[in-house]
Amino acid sequence: MTVTSDTPPTTQVGGVWEALRTVRDPELDADVVSLDFVASCSISDDGVAHVRLRLPTYFCAPNFAFLMVADAWDAVSQVPGLQDVDVELIDHFASDAINAGVAARAGFVTSMAGSEVGEAVSELDGLRRNFTERALMAGTDLVVRPLMAAGATPEQVVAMTLGEVPASADLRRLRERRRELDIPADDDAPLVVDPVGRTVGLEALPLHLRKARSYQVGVDANTSICRGQLAARYGL
């Protein structure tokens, strides 16, 4: 493979993969690379990045599919040295409408209008927000559960700041989701907040954490089913 820019090709393809790692399935709160949704990724001789995305089923929800294809396009476009970007969703009932819509930067509503798939009546910002809020709840479970297992009392947990929690991948992710929701995520910000950023009092804490756990179990269960479907579909 040769490319027109000065960047060595392997590094550049690596950059595309790296960019794809920032694209996530909002429902599963995991990135498309670790979910194995990237069927192929290459750079052709003319310097164009070609990314093929695949999903667990032919009927995966088109709204989420659209978000992932659009996000992949945006992320890969940031990789320096590329002449162009081509992201294609394969093996999906709405592939044509989604691919054409994303390539034309048309937005979800326009992309779906007149397609075989049907009409969409709203853009997807609300959906993204909704799932980021769920991710905040699920992430709260992942971060707080080990603290309590290690003996932290409810009184301590409600008084804790993010800076007091030992560093972990889960904590990093929780901070990211909070920033996406415009909820403070610095060291001095409270550890436990609800999806609109309000602190949670001692009395409300048990129910809050119980719910946070339910969200996390939901994410785990969905991820299991999606991974299983993908493996069955592509013989992974």
Partner: protein, 355 residues
């Protein structure tokens, strides 16, 4: 009936099908959807034990002989409830219509109950078809697919005025159990087809009806749980939970069961195999043997004992469908009383942290 360690379990498979997804039944011009649909179902089967996997050709349409064998002879099932699903946009004669299912019901009336269906968007003609089906098969339940496409429409909500009209009529006609598909598959666009808030409202407005949420609202299981805990007439339909997770991901299965036991409770959970995505045999045997795995991850979930398993595997559904249960499979009166009111108290304030 299934017997293990001296305990007898009466088995009601509350969610199964007798479908025809063979190429002969695909609608011309919509073949890709008909094919995509059944392939998607087939991939689900892949989540069950390897020895139960079928080639796609067999999976598309099983014979009557095979269904009877896999449900009743090998599958331990006493009574199976057909959940009719139409999908006429892609399948010429429907995927599994009331009539298709009803033919088997006529032949083996002791083995089956056949649930009908309606689609409020079909208007008066749909109402007449529904009334005719009820008259013919005397169902106690219906299966509703709120995300099903119908002409220009991409789905409906139970709270749509047209749907209330059907629910009112269903109640007059003696229907008691509304099975609502809130789970994976079919294509919700921007409309949220997994949203269960319409069930919440309908369950409040129709206290005389029971609402069984099939597939427990996956992928939004938590929304379903927070809702079901508030509504005494809302039940959890376990199909997909058992079939899709118990074998493939036992630890996640245990957590989902834990959540359901905590929020919904063993009195309101119904086993369903989702045949012929998955056969009942391994699911029934697996649930009877099931317990939480070792480890503190599961400490705060309610335990499930033999009585609870009997309820989930058959007694709860038998109650909803007036199915007579032999005395040897019953459980004592005390243990059949509703459990754990304390759990319900905890969740009174559902406004808190609901994303």
């Amino acid at each position: 009936m299934y017997e293990k360690d001296g305990e007898k379990y009466f088995i009601v498979d509350s969610h199964m099908h007798y479908w025809d997804a063979s190429p002969e039944n695909w609608v011309e011009g919509a073949e890709q959807y008909a094919k995509g649909w059944i392939e998607c179902f087939h991939a689900y089967q892949g989540l069950g034990p390897a020895e139960t996997h079928q080639p796609i050709e067999e999976f598309q349409k099983v014979s009557e002989e095979q269904l009877m064998r896999e449900e009743f002879e090998e599958g331990h099932v006493d009574v199976a409830i057909f959940q009719s699903t139409y999908l006429r946009e892609w399948y010429k004669n429907g995927f599994n219509t009331t009539e298709q299912n009803g033919a088997l019901f006529r032949k083996y009336p002791d083995k089956f109950r056949v649930n009908s269906r309606f689609d409020p968007r079909d208007g008066d003609a749909g109402m007449r078809e529904f009334e005719k089906n009820v008259e013919e098969y005397r169902p106690l339940g219906v299966k509703l697919y709120t995300a099903e496409w119908n002409g220009e429409s991409r789905g409906y909500k139970l709270t749509d005025p047209e749907c209330y009209r059907f629910l009112e009529r269903a109640q007059e006609l003696g229907i008691r159990n509304i099975h609502v598909h809130k789970g994976p598959t079919i294509w919700p666009l921007d409309k949220d087809a997994f949203d269960v808030s319409d069930v919440d409202h309908a369950a409040t407005d129709f206290q005389g009806l029971n609402f069984i949420v099939e597939h427990v609202g996956l992928p939004r299981i938590e929304d379903f749980c927070f809702m079901a805990t508030q509504e005494p007439n809302v039940y959890a339909g376990l199909s997909v939970v058992t079939g899709g997770l118990m074998h493939a991901r036992p630890r996640f299965h245990a957590k989902v069961m834990g959540e359901l036991l905590f929020w919904v409770g063993e009195d309101k959970m119904l086993f369903g195999s989702d045949y012929n995505i998955w056969t009942p045999k391994w699911q029934v045997e697996g649930l009877v043997d099931w317990d939480f795995p070792e480890g503190h991850d599961y400490d705060d979930y309610p335990r499930l004992g033999t009585d609870g398993k009997k309820k989930i595997l058959g007694l709860n559904a038998a109650k909803l469908y007036d199915i007579e249960v032999p005395a040897e499979c019953q459980i004592s009166a005390e243990s059949s009383a509703p459990a754990s009111p304390d759990d319900a108290e905890l969740v009174d304030d559902r406004a808190v942290s609901q994303a």
